[in-house]
Symmetry: C2
Subunit: 120 residues, 2 copies
DNA sequence: CTCCTTAATAGTAATGATTACTATTAAAGT
DNA sequence: ACTTTAATAGTAATCATTACTATTAAGGAG
C-alpha cells in the first residue's frame, strides 16, 4: 500500500475539519490543493481510511459523511435539519442530551459473526 | 391519511418476517398478493411507516433494510457476510455478544436539536 | 541517481437504490 | 351512489457510489 499525496491530503482534511464532511465536500476541499483530483480517488481513499479505522463513516440519507477519530465519540442527529452533533460525554440514556430532544437512538455493533469466525 | 390495501400488506410483511428485508425483497413478497404493485409504492409506504415509527430502518451498504418494532432491540452486523443479528438482551459493552466478535459499535441518537426546538 | 514494477490516479462510463412525475384508481366522507 | 382527493401504477429521472482503463508516480533494486 503506497502513501500517495492524495491520500495524505484527504486524511488531513478529515482530521482538520470540525464538520462531518461528505465525499463531495472532501472533493471540493481537495481541489484547492490538487485541482484535477478525481472524485473516484476521494471515494476510494475514504473507503480505505474507514477500513484502516483511521476515519469513521456516518450513514445519512443524503449520502455518507466522514468523521475523524481523534477522540472516541458518538453522534446526535437532528431529524429536522440533519445536523450531526458530537457527543463526547459518556452515554447516559436520558431523554435529553444537552438541550437536544432525543426521539430515538440506535446502537449498531459491527464485527465478525460466529458463522464467519468458524470459517476463518 | 388513507389506509390502503398496499400499506396494510407491506406492514404485515415486515411484521411477519424474521429477516431484515430490503425494499426490493418486500416488493417481491408484495407481488404474490398484488401482482402489479409498484416498487415506488413500496418505497413510499416503507418511508411513511418509518416516519410513523411502526417499522425501523437499518442503513446498509447494499441499501436500507427494514425491521419490525414488535420488541425493542438492537443489531449486530457482520462485516464479513453482512448478516444482521438481533440483539434483544440488555446491552453490556463486552467484546463479544454471544459468540460474535465485536470490532466496533456505533450509537446514533436521533431527535430534534436545540436550534430547531427554539424555532418551533 | 536511474530503472523497473505495479499500485494508485484521472477521467469517464456505468450501476443501482431511491425519488419524481403524471394519468388513473379507489378510500372514505356526504 | 356521488364527490373529493390521497394513493397508486408505471415510467422516467436523480444522484451517490462504483467500475473501467489508459496513464502516472511511489518506492524498492541496482
Amino acid at each position: 500500500m503506497r502513501v500517495t499525496r492524495q491520500k495524505k491530503i484527504i486524511l488531513d482534511i478529515i482530521n482538520h475539519s470540525y464538520d462531518h464532511l461528505t465525499a463531495e465536500q472532501v472533493y471540493i476541499k481537495c481541489r484547492r490543493v490538487i485541482s484535477n483530483i478525481s472524485l473516484g480517488t476521494v471515494y476510494r481513499n475514504l473507503n480505505n481510511l474507514v477500513d484502516e479505522r483511521k476515519i469513521k463513516r456516518i450513514k445519512m440519507k443524503d449520502g455518507d459523511h466522514f468523521d475523524n477519530l481523534l477522540e472516541k465519540h458518538n453522534h446526535f442527529i437532528c431529524d429536522n435539519c440533519g445536523r450531526i452533533i458530537d457527543i463526547k460525554d459518556d452515554i447516559s440514556l436520558e431523554y435529553k442530551i444537552g438541550n437536544n430532544k432525543i426521539v430515538d437512538y440506535e446502537i449498531n455493533f459491527r464485527g465478525i459473526c460466529e458463522n464467519c469466525l468458524r470459517k476463518e
